[in-house]
């Protein structure tokens, strides 16, 4: 399984979260939004010039700064 940072996922691709690393506040916010290892997400968009990345988890969308998105490792899901 290839691990890539969330920020390099392409628009429309689905992935499974493998791990994430950051300060307490970051970890806390991640888990409270349901962004935990094994969760399935889909990338919706990313803004120009390394702007925020938007992903879909369950029925909600979350925007994550580019730097934070770099610290979330995911594995692509290739077609179901």
């Amino acid at each position: 399984m290839n691990r890539i940072p969330l920020s390099s996922l392409k628009k429309g691709e689905k992935a499974i979260i493998i791990s994430h690393k950051g300060g307490r506040g970051f970890e806390n916010r991640m888990s409270s939004l349901g962004l935990r290892p094994n969760a399935v997400i889909k990338k919706i968009s990313s803004q120009l010039f390394r702007g925020p990345v938007t992903i879909q988890i369950g029925n909600s969308q979350v925007a994550i700064g580019h730097g934070m998105a770099n610290r979330i490792l995911v594995a692509r899901i290739i077609n179901e």
Binding site: F26, I44, S45, S60
Partner: protein, 573 residues
């Protein structure tokens, strides 16, 4: 039971349910963090009087932000209160994520009820939840509601006595596994096609489609605001004042003999033998016309448009589009919300800076707003008065303020210690605004304006008269002449406007008219009046939000940049 805490994730509709339960109107919008403080109200049912507290939204009981700390503190406060219960409001379309907080609440062994809100939306989002099973799994009563239409609220109120302490044992380490099991047993998702709103939602957040969409939305909003504002002024406000009110005033003027102290205070000075609603400066002429005839129409149109955009869920998306740019100013994209609220009135704008996480961001956002964002009352006056000198003059005023906003942000971001954190927010779904709810919100905001602004305008007009009669204005004018005349190139009488600007900026702009200013003087004074200091109402809120030390710093920045910008404008115009 005498106390109910409404607790839930941000943007699940707690405030709407609060309004339904208590009849107390609170502002609710479609973005997380609308409720930054807490609101109390009372529910009367069966002869009981139950206190209801609308707690700011939180994702977790392990707080990471100020609003979340407030929520946890309030929960701690009721720990030993046997008469207190929790209503856990849950977004039914997002059950899995919401259950995290629900299970954390259950761990605390408090009597609670779960409310599945947005129940009506489940159908078209393809979510079906087995409520009875969910009740069994959680061990507390579960009710379904639709806050905005009020469906299910009555049933909920009648069933409050069923409140229970759950016996479910939750292991903190395993909370997500636990949630996974509950979801498997209670929720079914059916496949469905993208809804129309979701397609727009996705387009408005991709940079290549999103930026043009943002420009169109802002431009359309601007024209609608102008169209509604001008129509109300032209077809309603001015005819009422000219045809109905002027004759009354002229009669009173005749009775008072056409001049004198009381005449001037009540009606003001006659211009060419009749009332001039802007220049006369009487309590019953200018004191009523400025707030009701010139400003109110724009307040109505602005809040109609803003509330519509707010409730649609667009603002957080706009925030994400411009996030990268806003970071250069030391604030993140969501700071667009306090800025836009500040265009209506700086007071709610200053309060909304609380949605930003760090002190640094709040300081930058509050300072930029207070300096460079004129409120709608002032904008309306600038449009009405500077507008006579053409669109060019108006563009210079707002263009200058926009440049100040950017440059000052760049400077503050460079020289202030610390960093501003990256954005990390949930984006609400698009919703078509519920019109009765929207109109109620607009009405609350207008009502607030009339209640707060009209007395202050009257006070401002009264103070002007007293200051002129007593010679204080002339004295201050001489004192401030070096700055006002020397740097800004304005007549020394303009000092009167600066004094009154502290009370009301709209009246202050009106006071410039009798001075016979040139086009460039009018531009300089409009910019200076916006920047030099916030009005007293905004000042009071900023003082509370920033603390004395930071408020002094902020005020220093305001005065310094006003002198520099006013001086530069005077030199180049």
């Amino acid at each position: 039971m005498n106390k109910i805490l409404l607790i839930g994730n941000p943007n699940v509709g707690k405030s709407v349910i609060f309004s339904r339960l208590t009849g107390v109107n609170v502002i609710a919008s479609n973005y997380p963090g609308t409720t930054v403080g807490f609101t109390k109200g009372f529910l009367r049912h069966d002869g009981m009087r139950i206190e209801i507290i609308d707690v700011p939204g939180t994702y977790t009981l392990d707080p990471t932000s100020r609003a979340e700390e407030v929520a946890v503190q309030m929960l701690d406060d009721i720990k030993d209160d046997e008469q207190a219960i929790v209503l856990n409001v849950v977004d039914a379309t997002n059950l899995e994520r919401n259950l995290n907080l629900t299970l954390q609440l259950i761990q605390r062994n408090i009597p609670m009820i779960v409310v599945l809100n947005f129940w009506d939306e489940c159908k078209h989002t393809g979510v079906s939840i087995n409520v009875e099973k969910l009740e069994q799994e959680l061990g507390v009563p579960v009710f379904t509601t639709c806050g905005i239409t009020g469906e299910g609220i009555k049933h909920l109120v009648e069933s409050l006595e069923q409140v229970k302490v759950s016996t479910l044992q939750v292991d903190a380490e395993n909370i997500w596994n636990e949630i996974g099991l509950i979801i498997e047993k209670t929720q079914k998702l059916s496949h469905r096609h993208h809804t129309f709103f979701e397609r727009i939602g996705d387009a408005s957040i991709h940079p290549f489609t999103g930026i043009p969409i943002a420009i169109i939305i802002l431009a359309v909003s601007f024209y609608i605001i102008r169209f509604i504002g001008e129509s109300i002024i032209g077809y309603i406000a001015e005819p009422i004042f000219d045809k109905l009110w002027t004759p009354v005033l002229m009669k009173i003027s005749g009775l008072l003999g056409g001049s004198g102290f009381f005449h001037d205070i009540l009606l003001g000075k006659l211009v060419d033998g009749s009332i001039d609603y802007v220049e006369s400066l009487g309590l019953l002429s200018t004191g009523l016309f400025v707030p009701l005839g010139m400003v109110l129409p724009y307040i109505i149109s602005f809040y109609l448009v803003l509330s519509f955009v707010e409730d649609s869920g667009y603002l957080p998306r706009l925030g994400i589009l411009i996030d990268k740019f806003m970071h250069k100013l030391g604030i993140h994209g969501l700071a667009i919300i306090p800025m836009l609220l500040g265009v209506g009135c700086n007071v709610p704008g200053a309060m909304a800076t609380r949605i930003l996480e760090t002190k640094r961001e709040r300081f930058i956002a509050a300072t930029l707003m207070a300096i460079a964002i004129p409120c709608m009352a002032q904008i309306a006056m600038i449009f009405g008065l500077v507008g006579e000198y053409g669109v060019g003059a108006i563009s210079i005023v707002f263009g200058t303020l926009f440049i100040v906003w950017i440059v000052l942000g760049l400077i503050l971001n460079t020289f202030m210690k610390g960093e501003s954190p990256e954005i990390f927010v949930e984006i609400p779904p698009y919703r078509f605004p519920y019109i009765p709810g929207l109109l109620k919100k607009v009405w609350m905001r207008i009502h607030w304006f009339i209640k707060e602004a009209v007395p202050f305008v009257m006070l401002g007009v009264l103070v002007v008269n007293i200051l002129y009669f007593s010679g204080v204005i002339q004295f201050l004018g001489n004192l401030a002449a070096p700055v006002v005349k020397g740097i800004f190139g304005l007549p020394k009488e303009a000092v009167g406007a600066l004094v009154i600007g502290f009370l009301r900026k709209d009246v202050a702009v009106g006071m410039l008219i009798p001075l016979g200013l040139s086009k460039s003087q009018m531009i300089v004074s409009s910019v200076v009046l916006t920047m030099y200091f916030p009005c007293i109402a905004t000042f009071a809120v900023l003082l509370k939000e920033l603390g004395i030390k930071n408020m002094l710093k902020s005020a220093g920045i305001m005065i310094l940049s006003t002198v520099i910008i006013g001086g530069i404008l005077n030199l180049i115009l």
